[in-house]
Amino acid sequence: MNTAQSLIIIITLLTSLAATLPGIFLMLRGVALLSDAISHAVLPGMVIMFLYTNQLESPLLIFGASLAGLLTVLCTERIIQSKQLNKDAAIGLVFPLFFSVGILLISLYARTIHLDMDTVILGEVAFTPFNRLVINGIDYGPYAIWIMGSIALLNTLLLMLCYKELVLTTFDAPFARIVGISPTSIYYGLMLITSITTVSALNIVGSTVVVALMLAPAGTAYLLSKQIKPLIGLSILFGAAATLSGYTFAHMYNVSIAGSIACMSGLLFALVIILAPNYGLCAQLIYSRTTMRNLRIKIVCEYLVKNNAQESSTIAHALGWQLDDTQAILSAAEQQKLVIKSANYYSVIQ
C-alpha cells in the first residue's frame, strides 16, 4: 500500500468517526432525516463564502455552511410551529430550496472554478491526499486530514464534555429543563455540529454518503444494544468497518470510494438485521414460532378444561383453526404430557 492509499484510509476513517457521533443522537431524537436535509442545505452558505473568499480551503466556508444549516433548521421549526404544514412536509420543502439556491449560484458564478456540482454531490476522496496544506512553504500534509481530524476531535471532545446533557435532553427533556439544562441549546448545538461535520465531509464523500455514515452505523448498533455507551462504541466500530471494507471494495473494482462505503454500511446493516440475537430476523423467526406454538397449546388446554373430552374436529371448529394445524398442536401437547388421547377424544391431564 502506498502513502496516498494510507492517507485516503485515514481520511475516510476520520470522516466516519466525525459523522457517526452526531448521527447517533439525531437517530435517538427521531430527527434522522434532518441529517439529509442539512447535508444538502449547507450548500448555499458554502458557495456564498467561496465567492467572497475565492478559496476552497477557507474556514469561512465552514462558517457560512453552518449558518445555512442552522437557518434551515430554524425555518423548518418555525413552519412546524405555525401548524401550516406538518413535520415531514416542512422538512421536505425547506432544504430543497436552499439546495437549489446553492446550485443556482454555482452554475451562474462558480462554474469554471474548482467548486463543481459533481464534487458536491459525489465527493472526490481520491484527490484528497494531493490537496496539501502549505503554509510558508512547509507542507503539513493533506488538507483533509487537518480538517476532518479537527472535526473528529471536536465532536469527540464535545461528546465527552456534554455527555450527561446530551443524554438527558434526548430522553427526558422536561426534566432537563427543571435541572437547568436547556434542551433548545443542546438541540441547536447538535444541529450546528451536524452542519459543520457535513460541510467538511462534502468534499470528501459528498452530501448523501455523509448521511449513510451518520445513520447506518448508529441504526445497526441500535439493533444490538439500546444502552448509550455500548451504542456509541458499536456505532464507531461499524462506521470503521464500513469504511475499511468500502475502501477495499472500491480499490479492488476501481469504483467510487464514497459509494462503496455507503453500500458496505448498508450491507452491515442488512447482516445485523438478519443475525442479531434479539431483534434479528432469524431470532424472531425461531422465537416467534416456539412462542406461538406454546400459546396455542395453552389455548387448547384451556378449552379442554372447560369442555372436557372433545374430538379434534370439534376443537378445530370451536377455535377457528384448520384441522391439520389443530392436530399438530394436539400432538405437541400430548408430547408435553399435557393432553391425553383415548379413542378419538382428547382431554386434559389433571
Binding site: 406461538m292 396455542r296 377455535l319 377457528g320
Partner: protein, 242 residues
C-alpha cells in the same frame, strides 16, 4: 337460543400482539336490542375486541358470528364509530362529505352519490344536530361536534349493529346527552349498540348490559345483575366507589 338469534356471538376469542395475549378466551353472546358497555382498565383489550369483531385484527383463536354468519357476509349490518383521535381533522373535506363516506358501502365502486344518499346524509345530520354545519370544514368544529360527525356517518349506513369506541371522551355535555338519547332511540328500534366506555360512573345511567374485561371476561350480563362493586374490583384491581 340459536346462534343466529344473537346479534354478535363471540366464541373462545383469543387475540395476541407480539405473542402476548391481550384478549384471552372471551365468550359472549350479545342479543339484539340492547345497549352494551364494554368496560375495563387500560390495556384490557376493549378496543381490540371491537377490532376483532370488525376483522381489523386477526385472532389467534376463536370465532365471531354476526347473526349466525361470518363477518364478510354481514358487513353492511355493522356500523363502526372509531375513536375521534384516529383521523387527521385537518383533512380538507366538509362535514357533509365526511358523513357521505358512510354511504360508500351502498354506492359501490366508481359511482357517484345519488339523491337517496344525499337525503340520507341530511337526515342523519338532522338527528345529530349538525345541519347548520353541513358545509363547514371538519377542522372548524369542536371535539364534541366532530364526534357527532362520526355518529352521523354511522347512521347513514342503516346498520343493525353499532360499534362505538370511547365516544364520550373529551366531549361537551350537549354532545354527550344528544348521543345517549340517539343511542337509546336506536336501541328501542331493535338495534344492538356496543360501546367501549371509560366512565364507570355513568354505566348504570346509560347502559342495559355490561361486559367487564381485563384480558379475560370478568363479568357479562345486565347491569343490575353483574355490575357490582365485587366485579368492578375484580376487573380494575382496586376498590372503586360507584
Amino acid at each position: 337460543m340459536l346462534m343466529s338469534e344473537f346479534a354478535v356471538s363471540i366464541n373462545n376469542l383469543t387475540v395476541a400482539y407480539n405473542n402476548k395475549p391481550v384478549l384471552w378466551n372471551i365468550n359472549a353472546h350479545i342479543p339484539s336490542g340492547i345497549l352494551l358497555a364494554v368496560a375495563g382498565p387500560n390495556g384490557a383489550g376493549k378496543t381490540t375486541l371491537i377490532k376483532s369483531i370488525l376483522e381489523l385484527v386477526k385472532p389467534v383463536a376463536g370465532t365471531i358470528q354476526i347473526f349466525g354468519s361470518p363477518y364478510a357476509h354481514q358487513r353492511n349490518q355493522i356500523a363502526y364509530v372509531p375513536q375521534r383521535m384516529s383521523v387527521d381533522w385537518q383533512f380538507p373535506i366538509t362535514v357533509f362529505d365526511a358523513v357521505m363516506m358512510g354511504r360508500y358501502g351502498n354506492i359501490g365502486w366508481f359511482k357517484r352519490p345519488g339523491d337517496a344518499d344525499i337525503i340520507a346524509v341530511h337526515t342523519a345530520l338532522q338527528h345529530v344536530g349538525l345541519t347548520p354545519y353541513a358545509q363547514c370544514h371538519i377542522s372548524e368544529l369542536s371535539g364534541g361536534q366532530q364526534q357527532r360527525i362520526f355518529l352521523a356517518r354511522a347512521l347513514v349506513q342503516e346498520a343493525s349493529i353499532y360499534l362505538l369506541d370511547e365516544p364520550f371522551i373529551g366531549v361537551d355535555s350537549v354532545t354527550e346527552n344528544t348521543t345517549v338519547l340517539l343511542l337509546k332511540k336506536l336501541r328501542d328500534q331493535g338495534k344492538t349498540i356496543i360501546v367501549v366506555h371509560h366512565d364507570l360512573q355513568t354505566i348504570r345511567k346509560y347502559f342495559d348490559w355490561v361486559l367487564l374485561l381485563n384480558v379475560e371476561r370478568i363479568a357479562y350480563g345486565t347491569v343490575e345483575q353483574v355490575f357490582t362493586p365485587e366485579t368492578v374490583t375484580a376487573a380494575f384491581g382496586t376498590a372503586m366507589q360507584l
